[in-house]
């Protein structure tokens, strides 16, 4: 079983602590409870995996804070990165 780290209970993404291949199961701890999800695609080490489906325009939350928005629909178990998430901070 591969592992991921949920940084803050309010987060909708977790960080995988080793590379995860498509179809592999990933477990993470949510306030003492172990949660398991299946990776929909390859997620490189220390990259983010979606813990639930994120609609286009929805906030991506890590550290309990908004780190950007989904630029398209992101499925549960998908790799969350520059190809589907954009910053609010670039001016």
């Amino acid at each position: 079983m591969k592992k991921a780290l949920l940084v803050h209970p309010a987060d909708n993404v977790a960080v995988v602590t080793e590379e995860v291949a498509a179809g592999e199961q990933v477990e993470y701890d949510r306030e003492g409870e172990t949660v398991i999800l299946t990776a929909a695609e390859l997620v490189p080490v220390y990259h983010k995996i979606a813990l639930r489906t994120l609609q286009k325009g929805e906030a991506v939350v890590k550290y309990g804070e908004i780190i950007g928005q989904a630029v398209c629909i992101i499925g549960k178990g998908n790799h969350v990165h520059c190809h589907n998430t954009d910053s609010f901070a670039i001016s």
Partner: protein
Amino acid sequence: MTDTKEPLSFQGYRRPDGRAGIRNHILILPASVCASDTAEQIARQVEGAVSFHNQTGCSQVPSDMQYTMDVLAGFAANPNVYGTIVIALGCENCQCDLVVDAIRERTCKPLVSLVIQHEGGTIRTVEKAVRIARNMAAEASMAVKETISVSELILATECGGSDPTSGLAANPVIGCLCDRIIAAGGTAILSETTEFIGAEKILAKRAANQEVHDRILDIVARYEEHFRRNGENVRRGNPSPGNKEGGITTLEEKSLGCIHKGGSTEIKAVFDYGKQIPVTQKGLVIMDTPGNDPSSIAGMLAGGAQVCVFSSGRGTPLGSPIAPVIKITGNAGTWAVMEDNIDFDASSVITENRKPEDLSADLYQMLLSVCSGRLTKAELLGFTETAVMRACNYV
């Protein structure tokens, strides 16, 4: 947050100005780059004396020179210093009497000054200064340690050589340490303004009042404007390709990883670079410093911080002449290969799913033992690298 059985004191030195130190150094303080080699020769000859290479102190416009003056005065006033011998060349911008006056505004501790051009060159200056430093060191050696409350600690925080583990493990552990120190009545400094960029609005929401809120946005805006005047936009190309490869998607995410090391409490005040933090200032404060490690740490130590906790994913050797710098990594591989330079391993947050709060209890114990005299890796190696923030190029 803080266990009731957690020790709340350490053994330190009470200074005549009322502040509490954790080291007992004689500082040989070079007023400028031109006095730095001489200062080093003096410090090498006296047990307990420390110095560093000051790359500034001359050829500076007033705003730039002020940063140097604040670091010089702040280092002399830092409570880890028993007394100071200022070594000036004589013709520099940071004139000896200006440096002495600036030190006297901050502290009443032992202070002597020598000007190389008045003494008749390096060798005469070294001979005279070594005798003075020797006598000062003999006095300092008789200082008796006493029990000091953690509430008198000012903890500096820094991150450098960051990688994805910094934001996941090391910085959250430092953040929990800050929360502990603050719960015990102490002070913690969050620094590195350039690394707030993108998360400044999130940070400003944690301000204790409107003035602090506006100041946080202002220091970020001023820093960005500074780069813009030089034709640079720090938001562009940030996060860097290397950051993105490591898994950082947006600038907000990158900055959030950095500001994590300040913990979760509200931000009480914002201090300009190198300005003295009053002993009455408690809680989490921000100091406006660069992301550059040696100059950021120098600013906080000039502010009166006695100790620094520094996270590094890649592993960095940096130390300070006047304060212990406790190095921490969240990267198990870095700990394995860089243990000579790193004091604390926080990688079990990632490898064993340990809670940052639990690890911060161990880091707190290490911090207290360092405050009571335990030497850090950087101290054992004798590292003293120091830099000063710059406003612009040399004249």
